[in-house]
């Protein structure tokens, strides 16, 4: 089957690729573009490990078609740090040990970034509900919530 030609912007860079009509954006990112930071934990939008930001909106990239990225802006975990300088969320996740195995971490970071963009000073409850679309099986979420609280406070002070 002939592929569809797609022009999009990923982490600020212009990117072009061919994809099949039924291919997910997650598969395009991982298998065609080598951006394996987004993970497939379920493929059904239940775990959030594939979270990305599409035109400013948090989405599961396993529920978006590669073809749908045409003309849009995609932000992935690979674009979160500014060169060598980690985003405050990334830094605080390491400092608070908010990851054990780390497979859910890229999705959590993207979701937390989106949450703080909409609500820079969330309560614990707002953080917990804001991140309820992302599954973590290792941490019990305690250290994740604390890392987000700490990062939010750093970002507000900046």
């Amino acid at each position: 089957m002939a592929g569809l030609a797609v022009s999009t912007t990923i982490n600020g860079d212009s990117v072009e690729y061919l994809c099949q009509p039924d291919e997910t954006l997650l598969d395009v990112l991982r298998d065609r573009l080598g951006l394996t930071g987004a993970k497939e934990g379920c493929g059904t939008g239940d775990c959030g490990a594939c979270s990305i930001i599409l035109d400013g909106r948090l989405v599961c990239s396993c529920l978006v078609l590669g073809a749908e990225a045409e003309g849009r802006r995609v932000e992935t975990i690979e674009g979160m740090a500014d060169g060598d300088v980690l985003h405050p969320l990334q830094q605080k996740f390491i400092e608070h040990a908010a990851l054990q195995c780390g497979i859910c971490t890229p999705g959590f970071l993207i979701a937390a970034k989106d949450l703080l963009a909409r609500n820079p000073d969330p309560t614990e409850e707002e953080i917990r509900f804001g991140l309820a679309g992302n599954l973590c099986r290792c941490t019990g979420y305690d250290k994740i919530v604390r890392a987000v609280q700490d990062a939010a406070s750093v970002m507000r002070a900046a």
Binding site: Q20, D22, D27, R30, L35, T36, G37, A38, K39, E40, G41, C42, G43, T44, D46, C47, A49, T76, I77, E78, M80, A81, L86, Q90, F93, I94, E95, A97, L99, Q100, C101, G102, I103, C104, T105, P106, L109, E124, E125, I127, R128, F129, L131, A132, G133, N134, L135, C136, R137, C138, T139, G140, Y141, D142, K143, I144, V145
Partner: protein, 756 residues
């Protein structure tokens, strides 16, 4: 054991151990750079896919793969015929082989029957649809109690209950009977003034790691093979794959990827032998990644159980006798799951008369795998529920009743061994003083507490420690890092050598670069690899002392080692001063060449571990929904190497236990098919379901480890089922006996109580 290594605990002041540095793999994991099972690719790689039985129990009459083979882009199709039986009478290996690919009979919904390798996922999926399997559907059984009935369909004609004399004449689904205990249980019940007896059930759960099983296999024409895989034990995977494929172990190099959660579920091969067989047939590398549906249907789960517990006590609070009968489903294959339940059930208590009997039961469900302290949480649920009820009947506080009966140093455990210094008493004393015990409870709220035990494992371990010419240190370990052990083991190397944490880099070596290591299971990773690291570091220090002696031209026995330096001992050497590790390393080319310390040992003496948890809940009587309000974990770590990661283990185990207690269960239809093979319907706790989880680390040194370390990973999942059941029972005034306590079950229990 490495010659001359003394593993005994010696009290000391630590410089690095107990500090909380940042983990060495942190940046890779927050930037998306870390490579997990599915993140690796090889040139010319094909995509593998597995065809699975839709039936719970069926004879496979025929498999026609010809149409699939003819599809353009398909490079290999395999069935059991491509995995000939090379297990040579090894029954456990035969079960693994049969589980990887059904041989004549499909034994559960999800059992693999064929597999393809094609140029892309779309072609592979299409090819699966072209494979024609003719099934003869057989009667099935998925319930553990039903499977034990005489009328149940027998799943494996070759299974005659092990552990009973004489050997049964007829096959059955009871694979094994095991018994533990001591004393005279009947006499003990005769002395009891109060006896509580109850039956319990727990449903099957999955480890629920977020990363599905994934591997890339490459077999070359000359028999050389490589396997990249997410696993808890790459050396064990090598052994199993090599045996099943007929490869020489040394020609199969297995590299463990970063692992996206395991919890015991990545200790068994499933897809890996299939991927290797596909690669061998296709002559190209094959990547095989399970879907989430496959993860639920074909990997993992823990046992469903049915448990009867009876405990008797005098009115002064002394338990006089305890017994339990424990039935554990093992999936369609034999296991040792009930045995572990029977061993752990009463391990927290010092009992004069105790007996436990376990039955391992075959059902038409996926082959059970270990799940964090396998089998212990269910047994603890049943026992700790009865302990709570008994305390109430006697009129004693639940904590005081447990303290009175707690095992202590010198107690003969219910499973046999006599305990050394242990932490059950101290965790109970700490819980008694915990502020959560004083927090006020409102209407519909309840508090529960419970204890838990896990053995902890040691086992075969090998490490290499190499001193670079610049004085930096590389540590190669063979235990997979599932939750931060590279940080812990770097701390251990730094401690022993007397250098800074930042000078050490720990890596997990592949199977061709290091001697054999058992897998990271049984909470053994940091316990055993730290022992091997200490031993390797001491060997390196011995060499560095020799080099320093050479540099100073004095006998080696006049050279000591302090704080990262060789020091010349004795007054006559007073003018020689010190030589740093860095100076000795820089001179190594002229003093005998590279400096390294190796270690190969069996890490014996893993210290047993105990925990006590407190849980406060609120139950909505309208909906039956339970909310966890507060949760606290108190556990003995022996010595917390990196306390932040110890806390993480405590919190993670508690969270998994909360999910198990309240929500998670495999739901089978009457057709024997799994109805909730996805994260939407098999609901693990999300962030908004949980409160902060308080942790308290106790440190009662393990006498059999130089630093006193005990395993910490598993015990934390043992008490939650019971603690939450006790809390819910206290909140609603009805004893809950069926896990998970999902809203419908709680409503039904309330309704039954109202109906009297």
């Amino acid at each position: 054991m490495t010659a001359g290594f003394d593993p005994r605990y010696v009290k000391r002041d630590f410089a690095s151990i107990g500090t909380r540095p940042l983990r060495p793999d942190g940046i890779d994991k927050v930037t998306g750079r870390a490579r997990y099972g599915a993140d690796f690719n090889m040139a010319g790689q094909l995509v593998g896919r597995v065809l699975r039985s839709p039936h719970a129990h069926a004879r496979i009459r025929s498999i026609d793969t010809s149409k699939a083979e003819q599809l353009a882009g398909v490079k290999a199709v395999i069935t059991a015929a491509d995995l000939p039986d090379l297990t040579d009478g090894d029954a456990a290996m035969y079960d693994i082989l049969d589980n990887c690919m059904a041989r004549g009979k499909a034994l559960y919904d999800g059992h693999a029957v064929a597999a393809v390798a094609a140029v892309d996922a779309r072609t592979a999926k299409q090819a699966l649809k072209l494979i024609a399997v003719e099934y003869e559907i057989l009667p099935h059984v998925t319930d553990v109690d039903e499977a034990m009935m005489a009328s149940a369909p027998v799943i494996n004609d070759g299974v005659f209950t092990d552990g009973v004399e004489p050997k049964p004449a007829k096959p059955s689904n009871v694979a094994k009977r095991s018994q533990f205990g001591h004393g005279d249980v009947d006499a003990g019940f005769g002395q009891a003034e109060v006896i509580v007896e109850r039956s319990f059930r727990t449903e099957q759960t999955h480890q629920g790691y977020i990363e599905p099983h994934a591997c890339v296999a490459s077999v070359s024409a000359d028999g050389m093979a490589d396997l990249w895989v997410c696993t808890q034990g790459h050396f064990v995977y090598r052994q199993h794959c090599a045996q099943l494929l007929g490869l020489e172990a040394s020609k199969l190099r297995v590299t463990s990827s970063e692992i996206g959660g395991g919890f015991g579920g990545k200790t068994h091969v499933w897809a890996e032998p299939v991927a290797l067989a596909l690669s061998r047939k296709a002559g190209r590398p094959v990547k095989l990644v399970m879907t989430r549906d496959e993860v639920f249907r074909a990997s993992g789960p823990t046992s469903a159980t049915s448990i009867d517990v009876r405990i008797g006590a005098r009115r002064d609070g002394t338990i006089t006798a305890a017994e339990a009968t424990l039935r554990y489903s093992g999936g369609a294959y034999s296991g040792a799951w009930a045995e572990l339940g029977a061993m752990t059930a009463f391990a927290c208590y010092g009992l004069e008369n105790v007996r436990t009997v376990g039955f391992d039961v075959l059902v038409n469900r996926p082959k059970c795998a270990a799940y964090r302290a396998p089998s212990a949480p269910m047994a603890a649920f049943a026992v700790e529920s009865v302990v709570d009820e008994l305390a109430g009947r006697i009129g004693m506080n639940a904590v005081d009743f447990r303290i009175r009966n707690a095992a202590r140093e010198g107690t003969r455990s219910s499973y046999g061994p006599v305990y050394g210094p242990i932490g059950i008493g101290p965790t109970l004393e700490a819980v008694k003083m915990h502020p959560q015990m004083q927090a006020p409870l409102k209407k519909n709220q309840g508090r529960g507490m419970a204890c838990g035990f896990w053995f902890n494992f040691g086992g075969q371990t090998c490490s290499d420690l190499n001193i670079g010419m610049d004085g930096s240190v590389s540590l190669a370990v063979g235990t997979v890092d599932v939750g931060g052990s590279r940080a812990s083991l770097s701390l251990v190397a730094a401690e022993e050598l007397g250098i800074d944490y930042s000078q050490v880099r720990a890596v997990v070596a592949d199977t061709s670069s290091l001697g054999y290591n058992d897998m990271t299971d049984g909470s053994r990773g940091t316990f055993s690899s730290s022992m091997a690291t200490i031993s390797a570091a001491r060997n390196a220090i011995r060499i560095m002392r020799e080099r320093a002696a050479q540099m100073w031209d004095i006998p080696v026995d006049e050279v000591g080692w302090e704080m990262g330096h060789a020091v010349a001992l004795g007054e006559k050497n007073g003018n020689l001063g010190r030589l740093s590790l860095k100076e000795i390393a820089a001179a190594s080319g002229k003093t005998g060449g590279p400096i390294a310390g190796h270690s190969e040992l069996v890490a014996d003496g893993a210290g047993v571990s105990f925990a006590t948890h407190i849980c406060d809940v609120e139950v909505d009587p309208e909906t039956g929904a339970t909310r966890v309000l507060r949760y606290a974990v108190v556990q003995d770590a022996g010595k917390a190497v990196h306390p932040t990661y110890v806390e993480g283990q405590y919190q993670g185990g508690a969270a998994q236990g909360i999910g198990w207690a309240l929500n998670e269960e495999y739901i089978y239809g009457r057709d024997g098919r799994l109805q909730n093979a996805g994260f939407l319907d098999y609901r693990i706790p999300v962030c908004s379901d949980l409160p902060m989880i308080d942790t308290q680390i106790l440190e009662i040194p393990n006498p059999n480890h130089p630093y006193g370390v005990r395993g910490v990973g598993e015990t934390s999942i043992v008490p939650p089922l019971a603690a939450i059941a006790n809390a819910v029972s206290n909140a609603v005034g009805v004893r809950m006996t069926h896990i998970p306590m999902s809203p419908p079950r709680i409503l039904a229990a309330l309704e039954a109580e109202r109906a009297g």
